[in-house]
Structure formats: C-alpha cells, structure tokens
Symmetry: C2
Subunit: 365 residues, 2 copies
C-alpha cells in the first residue's frame, strides 16, 4: 500500500539520525542539532522537511555540497547583530548556533538580529523562531531557497519559496507559531499532482509564457530545463487576488537574508542535485520585557488565541485554528504514540542505517 | 463625469490641509505632519488614504473621536524600544514622532522597535517605513485596523486588514517599498463592486455562513449588521491557495501592534462613524551598518531590483515591477505635473475650506 506507515518513537528516531551523522564523522553538536531539527519536523506533522531528507544530508556531506567541519565565521558583530559565513555547512547546526547568539544578545540589547550566508537547507524555519519562546521573547526566522517563484506579471522564476517563521509565547494556550512559505505552494505539491495525474488549480503556477499552468508534468520539465515558468507568489496570478503582495514578501525575505549578509539572491540560487546550496538565513528575537510585562503579554495572547480557536466555523467546517495549533496537536500525539513514517521513508532510513552500520529505529507497531 | 479630475500642486495641497488643521487649533507639528502624510498618499497614487479622508479627520477632531492635544505618553522605554500611549490622538503626528524616536534609537542600538496604543487612522504605513531610507536603515511599520478579516475556516471577522510596510534603500534604483494589507482586498474594493453592481470574484470574501460571497451589497450589509461574513486573508478561502498564511500574517501584525502595547486587538476594534478608533501601530528600524557596509548593500539592492524590473514579462503584459516602483513613478509624475484629484474629492476640500475660512488650492488645469 502506497501510504502505509510505520510508527517510530521520536527519541529513537533522533538517536538514529544522530548516530548516522556521527558515523559520517560530524561533531556531537552538529550531529545532535541536525537530528533534532529533522525529527522536529516529523513530530509536528511536516514530513516534507523531516527525516525523509536524511539521504539529502548524507549525500550532501559525502559529495561536499555540505561541508563537514566548516568554520563558523563571524563576519561582523555588534551587541545587537551578527553576520555569519557558514562556509557551506549544513543548515541546522549553524542556525541553532546563530539563533542562540541572537537570543543572548537580545537578553541584553532588547532585540537582536543575525544573517547567515553560504548555508544549506535548514529544515523547518519554525524550529529556530520557537527557540525564543521559553525566553519570553518573540522569535523570527527566514530563509531564501532555490529559485522557484515567478514575479507578478513575469514568466521566469526570480526568487525562492522564501519561508517566514514568527513565534510568540502564550500561557495556557499553545504558542502562536507561523511558519509559511511566501509562494502559494511549494514544488513538492506540484510533484504530488504530477504523480496523481491531476491538473493544477488555476492560481498555483504559470508556464513558460507566464500564463496559468495546468499540466504539472510539463511545468516541472520547463522549470528543470530553465525554459521559464514556476510557482506563483502567495495571492496567485496578477494583482486581482494580491499576488503582488506575496511577491513583495518573498523579496523582503531575500533582502533580509541575502542582501544584509552579502550573499547570492533570487535568480542566483539554483537547486543542485542533492540540496539547494548557498542559501542564506535571517534570525531575530524581541524581548517582550522591553515593551511590556511578559506575564501580561502571555495572558493577552491566551485571550486572543482562545477567541480565534473557539470562533464559529464556516458551514461544513469543524474547527478554526491559529498558526501552530495543528502542529502542536500533532506533536503531542506523536510524542506519545510515535511518529507515523511513510513505509518508503522508513525503508530508506533502514538502508542508510545498513550502509553506515547503524541499527534502524524499531517500529512500535 | 464620474471620474473627472482636477490637477493640484502637491505643495499647495499640503498647505491647504495644514491651514485647515491650524484653524482647528492643532499645533504646527500636528498640522504639518498630518498634512504631509495625507498628501504623500495622493502623490504616490494611493488616493484611498489621501486627502479624500480629510473630512474624517476634521469630523473626528470635532466629535472627539480623535483627541486634539492628546498627551504623547511614554509607557515604557529602553535604549532599543519604546511603548507609547497616544491617548486617542490622530495617527500621523504620533506615528512620525515614534518612528523618529525609533530611528534615533537604532542609530545607537543597531535596531529599535516601538508600539503605539490608543491611536487612530495613520494614513499609509509605507510613509513611516520610508522615513528610515535616508538613514541607511531598513524601515518597518504595521498597524491593526478595524474588524474586517475572517479566519481560515471561520465565518466571522476576527482581525483587520492589518497592513505591513517594509522599506529598504537602493542606490540608483528607487527603493524597495512594500506596503500591503494582509487581506486579499480592503473594504473599499467591495464598495466599488457594489456601486458597479458587479459580482465579487470568488476568493475575496465570505458571507455570514462562511462560504464564498458573491453579492457585495448583501455582504456589506451583513458586516454592518454584525451578522458575520467579511474579507478573506491574503491567499483566499480555505487552505488550497494559502489563505491560512495571510490569516497568520494578520495575527502576527496584531501581536506586534496590540499585544506588545497592551491594546485592544482583533474583534475588539470596531469601526466608528468617523474613523476607526483605538488602533495600535508597530514601528521598527534596522541599521544596515550593523550587518554590512551600507554602500555595498545599496549596490546589491540595485542589482536585485534592476533584475526584477527588467525580467521578461508574461505574454500580454508590458512590465514587471517591484514593490514601490509604481508609486515612485507616480510620485515623480505628480510632483512635476500636479496630483489628479477626483472632482468630488476636490469639491469636498472646497467645502471644508469654506467652512473653516481657508482658500482651497487652485486647480492647475
């Protein structure tokens, strides 16, 4: 069966990834942080960014696209800012390290920001924004990605899916955690439609003429051949539904990630075989106490989030959510009962384990 | 003719607004800053936020919804942050003052942020973000607004159109200035469709059942009667086109504006007769020098913006823009040749002038 799943304890899954990375001669810190970031995605119900990508990391490290033991070089530093050159390292360790620095800086300075250049895939942006939550801070994280998004009125990809994450703590409610790409969808969705032989909904993508694309197969082909076409920014085609707004957000994120760190941007970032390379990130933290008593803030957050969560659903809908709520519910369920991995993902892990002499995590059921 | 226009010199238009405010016994600073912010909207081709709103300000000041000579009270202040209680003042003066403080703070601290509570309509958010441009800083501005936006899967408005502005300087290119509401459209667009007797495009709004609204008249009525319905977040209905992302952005903005300053949020903000009241704002500035040589940053901005501006347009389209470009082109044209005001807007100004003993600005042609 295509969607058969295998349940795995998340601690075991983390341990497995960590062990594979250690066999690849990574440091404890690098192995541990990358394992945690990947498994966090599966735990929160975002398998597209989870351990299904382990082979990309393994291959990236072996091919040199991701540089093991790359220096973490501070290019510029002030009490409220830092710019890092990651020198081609894997994204997660350098991102955890940078966000930790930013949080320390914000503790004294009130707010702090950091840009990272020459990095790689870093998993879910939300992970780093959420690091601020227990510190009574608001966390921010962005990254540019390989080329995919077409500007309003254009026909060629000029920017990535450029996600934005924003996390703000509550008290009794789960935190507000927005983690979104700024394109309508990502390439993965188009690939799924291609496999299913379904037409793309109008408003997701344009072909090489810049007009609405309906055939996912030929679109993917045009993109691979660099003939033009790509995914539309949030808001869709033209300006009628606000596509220019999503386009603007994508560029804003490129400015903060790439331009502030002097990195390649937009059309300069091509997807390589095993991973996107030379992407750049942006991290930020705002100390709530610089504005207001954090306890009062958290209490108002509860009030707002509860109102949203309990507001009347549309006809035919069961629930209204707020950003992060679904993911927290998944996290609670999966950390109790195990993470349901697709069988084919599990098989892939087993073969990676075999190759590197690491026992795969045992299935719970 | 309905769309007949009258061209007015922007300096004369500013002077006229300033004089009206002075007759209403406002201070020089309040009169001058409000006149500048309103006219800046017309100059940039955003008449919905321009002098067409002068009567709202005049009526607001007279009715007490906008409080003249309200104290500008600093509630909390650190070297990188400030929280202001505007005590019901007009939006523009308190916003110019706060953004100026933020820029001064960022000069020393590297970055700084401020929230303002108990304010009113403040014109275009972009105005305040753009104040950072000449300082080699990136400017940020947000505001919540009166209730209008319906959460994904919901049926009742729970947040405003909550705009976000972001400005980053270039060198030879015009600056990148994103200034966007986080709903698909604003109420004004629905009102235009109502006047024209046109059906609403699917994906703009939902009715009181939470399902796609097509009749603008009955939607406006349902909203006024508080029966439910409202505008959809950027990305439209449900999750297929990313509506949950626009919803998340709107709430993010409410967190930064209202929650950080301890103000009313979302469903607590109702539109009053002459103006929305008790809205809150958020301002920020990032000093580029804290990250990178500003000249190198501006030069890379040129490179990026030129690439976007000159990339190949879609079939049937003439140009690709970047955020702010259209507005700068309008500004250049209108400051040379005069601002084309709708005749009915001009007539309104004349009658306000007559009532307050101020000569209306003369038409250029």
């Amino acid at each position: 069966m295509k969607n058969e799943t295998v349940k795995i304890d998340y601690g075991h899954l983390e341990q497995f990834c960590r062990d594979v990375f250690l066999r690849l001669d990574l440091s404890e810190y690098d192995a541990d942080s990358t394992a945690k970031v990947l498994v966090a995605a599966d735990l929160r119900g975002i398998p597209s960014h989870g351990v299904g990508r382990l082979s990309r990391y393994v291959n990236g490290l072996k091919s040199g696209l991701m540089v093991p033991h790359a220096p973490f070089e501070i290019i510029r530093e002030t009490p409220s800012s830092v710019v890092i050159d990651a020198h081609g390292a894997m994204g997660p360790p350098v991102s955890v390290k940078t966000m930790s620095m930013i949080i320390e800086k914000a503790r004294k300075a009130g707010s702090a920001f950091g840009s990272v250049s020459n990095s790689n895939h870093f998993g879910i942006a939300g992970y780093y924004a959420m690091m601020a939550l227990d510190e009574n801070m608001i966390g921010i994280c962005m990254t540019n990605t390989s080329l995919l998004g077409v500007p309003t009125f254009g026909r060629r990809a000029m920017f990535g899916t450029n996600p934005l994450a924003f996390a703000a703590p509550a008290d009794k409610e789960r935190a507000f955690v927005l983690d979104m790409s700024t394109t309508v969808v990502t390439r993965g969705k188009v690939e799924v439609y291609d496999r299913l032989g379904k037409e793309l909904p109008k408003g997701w993508a344009v072909d090489k003429t810049g007009k609405s694309a309906s055939d996912p197969g030929s679109l993917l082909n045009e993109m691979i051949e660099r003939l033009g076409g790509g995914i539309l920014p949030l808001g869709g085609e033209g300006e009628e539904f606000g596509g220019h707004k999503g386009y603007g957000l994508s560029i804003m994120i490129d400015v903060l990630c790439a331009l502030l760190s002097g990195s390649p941007f937009g059309s300069e970032i091509w997807d390589m075989e095993s991973s996107s390379v030379r992407v750049s990130h942006f991290f930020g933290a705002l100390k709530i106490d610089a504005f207001r008593d954090p306890a009062a803030f958290r209490c108002d957050m509860d009030r707002m989030l509860e109102k949203l969560r309990t507001c009347e659903p549309a006809e035919g809908e069961e629930r209204v959510y707020y950003a992060g709520l679904k993911e927290y519910e998944k996290e609670e369920e999966y950390s109790r009962n195990g993470i349901p991995l697709l069988k084919k993902t599990y098989d892939l892990l087993c073969s990676i384990g075999k190759e590197h002499g690491v026992n795969p995590p045992e299935a719970i059921e």
